[in-house]
Subunit: 410 residues, 2 copies
């Protein structure tokens, strides 16, 4: 199970600050992994609001169903996340596990089960023995602390090779408002929505409705704009919690100019977390930004960018450091979106490799090959049809992906 | 470039019979490969009709554009296929190459250029030096012969590890009518349409309209029902030629009961060729038939089957001989088609692994693991919603695919 740490991992991790109104503890429940934490309990003070975006899979997990049922309430007092078992496709037993877990957590934190949010990640189809959480959650509740944030980031990892954290501090009404986020995800990553799990906490006083609207907006250019392997998880969950402890006036409408400021900071955190998921994509050795411009619409540009970013042939070529723009043409062609072969232009970085439907006159094989040796690549396709544009972020497809996934369950 | 022969290759190849009205020769034009044939010239006697199905890529190759322009004429006297260069995304030069090639062939065979069909396969984006065909086609025209059919099958190979042939002899009006087919394809294989190239010849006297209708019908359950890597080629071409030399009454309407008999034989040939493409899928070690039943419609069943067959996580699990039905659930869930998690049943072969949305009560891990060691696997998903059904054929995803495609162009 132990795979080499991604070569794209950061050299250090941010030391995120405490956020008033939230404390947490991690524990070892021994669900699947040994000698590592696999449960996260997060406790929110009264008045915390919740928002979330969940997988669109038709086979969503029991925990996702639970969150979907309780998000409209908009109130949160606790979050329980376990790694090692997704509690997905587990039928009646799965629903019972979820209810039992919520019950344990509600008792440990002294709140109602409707205020508990849940997420699970790991193997699909194995029943989750929630009894194992009984003493574990009670005990964790006695150790709640506001830091260090790297601990929850570690406890939710599965095939991730490094913990993923991001934070922002934004000045609103002269007060420093904080946003901290953690995420896990490495494989089974594709819109919508590609996280697999991410949790963001802020002390901003914001209504559940505004938080939900900002989250839905900014997920489009972050978690919904990444793909590792085109496979959408049954468990994808992004939850945001606002404790409201910052001493500023509550944000209750999108018309409030502060919504833009707060939203931009939230967007930064979501984007950084999403990019971490790509950089820790199973077997990844390169991060690739696929830009499509000149499409008939933004939606069309997005579908073409995703077709390129999902193509096994494009991704293996990038792994081989081959500027194989012929495969990019193929991926544009198969997207089924308006495209005119003879207007296409393709750039790797700033290097024009093709224009007007054929190899560019000044194509420089040596310069292009040198560019492909980089760890962060930009691939731009210009369609020449309109103003539509979009970017999708992905990684290369290597032997590492096969090794990790050809022997995952056993 | 030389990769190990697929472990799923046949032990021997069929010795297809001569078909009256068609002769062929292969040659070495040295377009890309050394010391092997890379050009096929096929000559048809006057009266031969043609039908075809071409890629739906928006970036189709110059040769595909040529065939699309000339298929409505319905008449064929010659076919030129080259391997090593796809002549795709080659702009004006590509169109000039195609015209030059058709001109050479028409002169060599003494017919009009409109009666020449063309196909190219290989690298995308490199200009094709058609001048190299000049003497080659003239010389080939002096060596035309009715057998052996394995030679054209070999000349059109690219990353294929074995030549692909299939033949049928069907009795119509007491006369033996023949259908011979060849195909090439290994990667960049996905509906529609997944060949990449296939050519079928029959001596059946059949109108171009009926041949086209039968081809379009039977491609749905053959080349359009396979996927290796979800990538659709710019060059996919299936052409059928009928010399009309068999001494039976011409088949000119689908209402003729003989259309069923002839169509069934044609279907067998197309299906066998398509399965060969899957069995020679890049890096393949296992052939997988994905059956979906109980969907709301056949089209819905097909989209779910394709979602499963295209999933990198399902395919790597199969490579690892892991009956990871959790990933099958994931792939059903991401298809976006009607599905009720709690009605799903999944079988590997005859082994029921999941039913009613959870692991089957009698699930036998040992028996399932033993089944997964086989070379030909059947995976069946029952949705329990309606009568829709479909099957998609694919292969596993292994290190071999990465090796082949991470260093293809160089």
């Amino acid at each position: 199970m132990a795979h080499p740490v991604s070569p794209l991992a950061p050299k250090s991790y941010p030391d995120l600050p405490a956020i008033e109104g939230v404390r947490f503890a991690t524990a070892e429940a021994g669900i699947k992994y040994k000698n590592r934490t696999d449960v996260l309990l997060m406790a929110f003070e009264e008045g915390t609001v919740a928002a979330g975006v969940l997988t669109r899979s038709k086979c969503s997990s029991a925990a996702v169903d639970w969150c979907r049922a309780h998000l409209p309430g908009g109130k949160a007092r606790g979050l329980v996340v376990n790694s090692g078992n997704a509690n997905a496709f587990t039928g009646v037993k799965g629903r019972e596990s979820v209810e039992l877990t919520a019950d344990y957590a509600a008792r440990a934190l002294g709140c109602s089960t409707a205020e508990i949010f849940l997420a699970s990640t790991g193997v699909i189809g194995e029943p989750l023995p929630a009894e194992k959480f009984a003493g574990v959650l009670d005990q964790a509740a006695t150790r709640l602390a506001p830091t260090p944030w790297i601990e929850p980031a570690k406890a939710i990892m599965t095939t991730d090779t490094y913990p993923k954290l991001s934070g922002a501090v934004v000045e609103i009404d002269g007060i420093e408002v904080k946003i901290n986020g953690i995420a896990k995800g490495s494989g089974m990553i594709a819109p919508d929505m590609a996280t697999m799990l991410s949790f963001v906490v802020t002390d901003m006083p914001v209504s559940a409705e505004v938080l939900q609207a900002l989250l839905a907006r900014h997920v489009q250019t972050s978690f919904n704009a990444i793909t590792v392997d085109s496979d959408t998880s049954t468990s994808d969950t992004l939850l945001a919690f606002a404790t409201g402890k910052a001493a500023v006036e509550p944000l209750t409408t999108l018309d409030d100019p502060r919504a833009e400021v707060f939203g931009a900071a939230l967007s930064d955190v979501l984007f950084e977390l999403a990019i971490h998921v790509v950089r820790d994509g199973e077997g990844a050795t390169k991060q690739v930004s696929v830009h499509v411009e000149g499409a008939v619409s933004d939606a069309s540009a997005f579908r073409i960018a995703k077709s390129i970013a999902d193509s096994p042939l494009v991704k293996t070529a990038i792994a081989g450091e081959d500027a194989n723009w012929g495969r990019v043409v193929m991926a544009v062609g198969k997207a089924g979106e308006p495209a005119d072969r003879d207007k296409l232009a393709i750039r790797f970085g700033d290097l024009l490799v093709a224009r007007n439907g054929e190899r560019a006159a000044g194509y420089d094989e040596a310069a292009t090959s040198a560019y492909m040796k980089g760890e962060e690549l930009e691939l731009t396709v210009s369609l020449g049809l309109g103003d539509g544009r979009a970017t999708v972020y992905t990684c290369d497809l290597t032997h590492g992906y096969i090794t990790i996934n050809g022997d995952y369950r056993s």
